[in-house]
């Protein structure tokens, strides 16, 4: 099959946004859990 996928920026932005958001949420959850366990 030949040809190039046209467009596609929406998928790229979605993949990067979801991943960075998940990393941020997980990082915050680790910080909160550590605070809770250490108190």
């Amino acid at each position: 099959m030949n040809g190039v996928v046209e467009g596609g920026w929406a998928y790229v932005i979605a993949a990067y946004s979801i991943t960075w958001a998940a990393w941020a949420v997980y990082g915050v959850s680790l910080w909160l859990r550590n605070r809770q366990e250490s108190s």
């Binding site: 040809g3 190039v4 996928v5 046209e6 467009g7 596609g8 920026w9 998928y11 790229v12 979605a14 993949a15 990067y16 979801i18 991943t19 998940a22 990393w23 997980y26 990082g27 680790l30 910080w31 859990r33 550590n34 366990e37 250490s38």
Partner: protein, 234 residues
């Protein structure tokens, strides 16, 4: 250097590298020859998959260590490795379909790579559930170490699945198969994701250690009866 300082240093360095790698990959590299702009998901997906498998492998080695020595450090490392591996595995299961749909016109198919990845996620979820259900420390350590070793057997199968069977998934990424202009952001992103994954692992280990010390040093007091009565009360 304290553990907290290591976590902050590794996390900050990882985020800086990720910012550079992703920024370069998104803004400065050309679109991929056949996948177009969607090819840029490469800089995200490959490092995420790498860290997921690395974290599960750390958990596997820690499981062997815990069975061998019976030391809590290995057990807590195993738990941390599994959880970090799960976070990154779930992410590859989200990124993959987002990449597959515009390029192959489906979100999911029961292809060997995708199926073995799904089995990996389910298996390690089971190990984490086991850790919740077993409260006695020694039993939990032994049972979940064995379950981790059994679950890990599938990790190399995931990696080599695209070579062993016909797969719609892209072949194994090799340095020689990636153009130099794409290789630089890929390697920088790989380094950044690895550093971030290490920071997550250490932070998760710190949580597990704090919980373990609370359980071991100050076990929960038995519940008090709802109504207290004095022994010599009439």
């Amino acid at each position: 250097m304290k553990l907290t300082h290591w976590i902050l240093a590794l996390g900050a360095t990882g985020l800086l590298a990720l910012g550079a790698g992703h920024g370069y990959g998104l803004l400065a590299t050309p679109a991929e020859a056949s996948m177009g702009e969607t090819g840029r998901i490469l800089y995200l997906h490959v490092p995420t998959a790498w860290v997921a498998m690395l974290a599960f492998t750390v958990a596997f080695l820690a499981a062997i260590g815990s069975l061998w020595s019976g030391k809590a450090t290995w057990d807590l490392s195993m738990e941390s490795g599994i959880e970090v591996g799960m976070v990154f595995s779930v992410l590859i299961c989200i990124q993959g379909p987002i990449w597959a749909y515009p390029t192959q016109n489906y979100w999911w198919t029961w292809d060997p790579r995708l199926t073995t990845t799904a089995i990996m996620v389910v298996a390690f979820t089971g190990v984490l559930v086991m850790r919740r259900l077993i409260h006695q420390h020694e039993r939990r350590m032994a049972a979940t170490a064995v379950a981790t070793i059994v679950s890990w057997v599938n990790v190399p199968v995931v990696y080599f699945s695209v070579e062993w069977w016909d797969s719609v998934h892209q072949d194994l990424s090799q340095v020689s198969s990636v153009d130099r202009v794409m290789l630089i952001p890929l390697l920088v992103s790989l380094a950044g994701t690895s550093l971030l994954g290490t920071a997550f692992f250490l932070a998760r280990y710190r949580v597990a250690r704090a919980r373990y010390l609370t359980e071991e040093v100050a076990p929960e007091l038995p519940d008090l009866p709802e109504q207290l009565e004095l022994e010599d009360s009439p």
